[in-house]
């Protein structure tokens, strides 16, 4: 393998000539009209984290209201809006776009050794679509006092919050969500084309980093599932405008049909959330175990398998809504089918750690807690797949706990792992490892304290979205609320030390963790065109060609 810098083999990649992507051009306009995938990624990251803050505030309000069985801080209607805002913001603005649009956007082209995505303008356009959709959705919820929960079930959603007008209530919210969906479609399309077309000739499909396999599988879901959301909005509008019965019982429509439409998008969306997370975990675990990922092909194909099976399980949200027993049976079976590729991934990650040289830095801590949390999230899914047991657990706090373990615990922890992992690359700075650990302990303990009691609440029969609850459930609710405060403290600390590192953090070497994927071959932060010298393509998980250089506290090429 040839060296990147043969003249001076132990030195780091020299900083980009002519400045890096952050400094090369200046001024607000150079950001607003940028076509650089890295800047767009940073804009996504900032916006998504802002949304996360907002959604988090509502989460804390919800948990605070639930400290007592009756009124604690607000009236029921206000409470209902809180959880609607929390759910809608977290799902549509944070977790769905989080990893692909922010982290994926940043590293995907670099991992391919490319200059940019295939369609840089579309990339920028999809960011603005996202922004527009986000504003529309949040404003519509706030102004329309929408209190339906993020699932917007009809006829509640169309009757109660509609105010009788054509565009009233839930329709503008769904329009906003649809814009967000379009943004997601464009990103997916961009990713697929980029992976197909901008791969260097020497990089075969099986030399793709697993993060890219995950993003690829995700992109396919984004493109196939999201249009259904658009169709749903359209049907709602047609129904309202033409009094044409589709979903509304008073017009002869069927509310359960709406649920089919909604989950046909929203279940695959769950995999839009989790697959990229799994991709991040594959990278981090391999790099921080200093060991080749175990079972590359199985992990890659399991992403595709999850993406495909993910399309045939939406009905598991309707086991008690009166769909036929035959359908319920089929959906239950497919739901279990998804469990296999998920389990395969977990075992492969564990096998990757076997006989590694494990470094417990923040990204790895989050990755290992992902295994713990996803373990619980995934295994509790088995309860919900079993029809008879789902009848008891459906619509209770067990569901709330389950999907928070999967979506909040797993996806968000993976995203935080990814942010820490690529932070030096994105910003050129190293964050404080010590504070990273402190925050991690708080977030991890807080997360489990928040959501584990909710499993018990659920099995003992507490329904979700309850403002008043039977007094017997108070103890567990208080535990859960305390957990949420701990977790919030962890996130606040994370925000502080990350921001602090921007100004005071140590300068990062180009390869602080010893990753073998191509993004570690360019300088930190990368130049606008990513590589001053064409990267050397090899096995993305072969760490043999790297050696540690104590002088720069990073890894350099051996030759």
């Amino acid at each position: 393998m040839s060296a990147m810098n043969p003249a001076n083999p132990t030195s780091d990649v020299p900083p980009a000539t002519g400045g890096n992507y952050l400094t090369q051009t200046r001024g607000i306009l150079s950001w607003v009209f940028t076509r650089d995938h890295k800047r767009i990624a940073v804009m996504y990251l900032v916006s998504i984290l802002a949304a996360f803050l907002l959604g988090g505030i509502f989460a804390i309000l919800v948990r605070t209201e639930l400290l007592t069985p009756n009124k604690t801080i607000v009236e029921p209607d206000r409470y209902n809006q809180f959880f609607t805002l929390h759910g809608a913001i977290m799902i549509f603005l944070v977790i769905i776009p989080g990893i692909p649009a922010a982290l994926g956007n940043f590293v995907l082209p670099i991992m391919l050794g490319a200059k940019d995505l295939a369609f840089p303008r579309i990339n920028l356009f999809s960011y603005y679509l996202w922004l527009l959709g986000a504003l529309l959705a949040v404003l519509a919820i706030v102004l329309g006092s929408v209190d339906t929960g993020w699932t917007f079930y009809v006829p509640y959603a169309t009757d109660v919050s509609a105010g009788g007008t054509l565009m009233g209530g839930v329709i503008p919210v769904l329009l906003g969500v649809f814009l967000l969906g379009f943004s997601s479609i464009f990103t997916g399309l961009n990713f697929i084309v980029t992976i197909h077309k901008l791969r260097p000739p020497s990089m075969g499909w099986f030399q793709l980093p697993l993060f890219l396999w995950a993003l690829y599988a995700t992109a396919i879901i984004q493109i196939l599932a999201t249009p259904v959301l658009g169709i749903t909005v359209l049907l709602l509008i047609v129904e309202r405008a033409a009094n044409f019965g589709i979903f509304h019982p008073s017009l002869g429509g069927d509310p359960v049909l709406y649920q089919h439409f909604f989950w046909f998008y929203s279940h695959p969306a769950v995999y839009i959330m989790i697959l990229p997370a799994m991709g991040v975990i594959s990278e981090v675990i391999s790099v921080f175990s200093r060991k080749h990922i175990f079972g590359y092909h199985f992990i890659a194909f399991s992403s595709v398998a999850i993406a495909v099976f993910g399309f045939f399980v939406w009905g598991h949200h309707m086991f008690v809504s009166g769909q036929s027993a035959l359908l319920a049976m089929i959906f239950s079976l497919f739901t279990y089918a998804v469990a296999i590729p998920s389990a395969v991934k977990v075992f492969n990650w564990l096998a990757t750690m076997y006989r590694g040289a494990i470094v417990l830095k923040a990204p790895m801590l989050y990755a290992l807690s992902f295994l713990f949390i996803f373990g619980i999230g995934g295994l509790t899914g088995l309860f919900l797949g079993a029809l008879a047991v789902d009848v008891h657990l459906h619509g209770t706090y067990f569901i709330v706990a389950h999907f928070h373990y999967v979506m909040m615990g797993s996806t968000l922890f993976a995203m935080i792992a990814g942010i820490h992992y690529w932070w030096p690359k994105m910003t050129g700075r190293l964050y404080s490892e010590l504070w990273g650990r402190v925050a991690w302990v708080l977030a991890f303990v807080g997360m489990n304290l928040t959501f584990f009691p909710q499993f018990l609440l659920g099995t003992h029969g507490m329904p979700r979205r309850y403002y008043n609850y039977p007094p017997q459930f108070q103890f567990l609710n208080v535990l859960s609320s305390i957990g949420s405060y701990l977790m919030a403290a962890g996130f606040v600390i994370t925000a502080i030390y990350l921001l602090h590192s921007l100004f005071a953090g140590r300068r990062a070497p180009s390869n602080p963790w010893g990753g073998a994927t191509l993004e570690w071959q360019c300088s930190s932060p990368p130049p606008t065109h990513n590589f001053d010298q064409p990267p050397v393509v090899g096995d993305p998980y072969d760490f043999g060609a790297l050696k540690y250089d104590a002088a720069i506290e990073g890894y350099v090429s051996k030759t």
Binding site: N80, D147, T148, Y153, P155, Y156, D159, P249, S250, G252, P255, V256, R290, H292, F294, G295, Y296, F298, F319, V320, S321, G322, A325, S332, Y336, A343, V346, L350, A351, M353, Y354, R355, G356, A357, I358, L368, L371, F372, L379, F383, G385, A386, A388, V389, D390, V391, H392, H394, G395, T396, T459, H460, G461, P463, P470, Q472, G514, Y541, A550, E553
Partner: protein, 336 residues
């Protein structure tokens, strides 16, 4: 009609609700008080122990590896570089496969049992309505609480006349949505007399979390006693309310209560007002006149109407006629 029922049985905030189930149960589940609970709980605990096993396995391996193979110096290389092992991969795909097929089958069997009630089940209709439950018993009695006999199959037919609700009885391990525009059914057989909690588990608006009521499982013989007593409308309602129900059931085929004439004159505003009969005489429609009209309708015929009304002698009891009179009195008060 639903509107009327609703106005008669006004929802109140309940402060007298029982806990989900009486004391007992396991760490993870409240006591199971229905025949379905046995199977559901068994499947639950089967999945639970499988999950506990795999979770402990994963975490133990993870912690052990993280400690045993920790890097001691920065930049240390891994001690092995195994990249794959097909037999191992296939094994750990196959073992979960077998287990999940078992879970699927067990869950499916329990679900099918919940779908098909045995013959002769007691039929109770359930109307879910923001934010209360209305249970209609076979004799026509409507109640806000669900009362059932122990050890007898009960079939619930659910409907909603506004948004989607969901009937959930944790102690029975059953749940079914009440969807406007369709009938959903579920059945159960209670095994333990006692009081249980029934909750709405599909979000339905402001007072969703108040949409709870009591399920009373009666010991043998007690259910019938309860039903007879509860069906006595005078126990829980005012005379006028009972009167309104009777008029709705017996008289509205021919009369109206809104002032418009139908086959018979409207009953609105007649009480203690002057009525002209076919022979031109005028009478005041007082208590006696109404009583006579109900028992001997042919005695006096109102001008402009035919002789369609037949006697309610032997059908309506004295007390019921009094109730109707009270209601008609209220109707004329309203119109004043």
């Amino acid at each position: 009609m639903n509107q009327l029922i609703a106005s008669l049985l006004l929802a109140q905030t309940r402060t007298d609700l029982p806990p989900v189930a009486p004391e007992g149960g396991t760490f993870w589940l409240p006591p199971g008080a229905s025949t379905a609970a046995g199977h559901t709980d068994a499947v639950f605990y089967f999945i639970y122990w499988v999950s506990v096993f795999f979770f402990l396995l994963i975490v133990a391996l993870m912690v052990y590896f993280a400690w045993r193979y920790r890097a001691r110096t920065p930049g240390q290389a891994a001690s092995g570089q195994v990249t794959h092992h097909t037999v191992l991969e296939l094994t750990w795909s196959a073992i979960p496969l077998v287990l999940v097929v078992a879970m699927f089958y067990l869950g499916f069997r329990g679900y099918m049992d919940m779908q098909n009630p045995p013959r002769g089940a007691l039929d109770v209709r359930v109307l879910a309505k923001k934010w209360d439950w209305f249970f209609t018993y076979p004799n026509g009695h409507i109640d806000n609480e669900l009362h059932v006999p122990v050890d007898a199959p009960v079939r619930l037919t659910l409907e909603s006349n506004d948004v989607i609700h969901s009937l959930f009885i944790p102690a029975f391990r059953i749940k079914r949505d009440a969807v406007p525009g369709r009938y959903n059914k579920i059945w159960f057989q209670a095994r333990q007399p006692g009081d249980y909690l029934l909750m709405c588990s599909e979000f339905c608006g402001t007072r969703h979390s108040d949409m709870q009521t009591r399920v009373v499982v009666h010991p043998p013989g007690e259910y019938e006693k309860w039903l007879t007593e509860a069906s006595d409308p005078f126990r829980t309602r005012t005379l006028a309310e009972v009167g309104a129900m009777l008029v709705a059931r017996r008289c509205l085929q021919c009369h109206t209560v809104d002032g418009r004439a139908n086959i018979g004159p409207s009953l609105k505003g007649i009480y203690e007002h002057e009525v002209e009969l076919v022979d031109g005489t005028k009478v005041i429609a007082d208590d006696d006149y109404i009583r006579e009209s109900v028992l001997y309708p042919q005695a006096k015929i109102v001008r402009g109407f035919g002789r369609e009304m037949s006697s309610f002698k032997g059908i309506l009891k004295d007390k019921e006629i009094t109730a109707i009179i009270e209601y008609l009195k209220e109707l004329s008060n309203d119109s004043r």
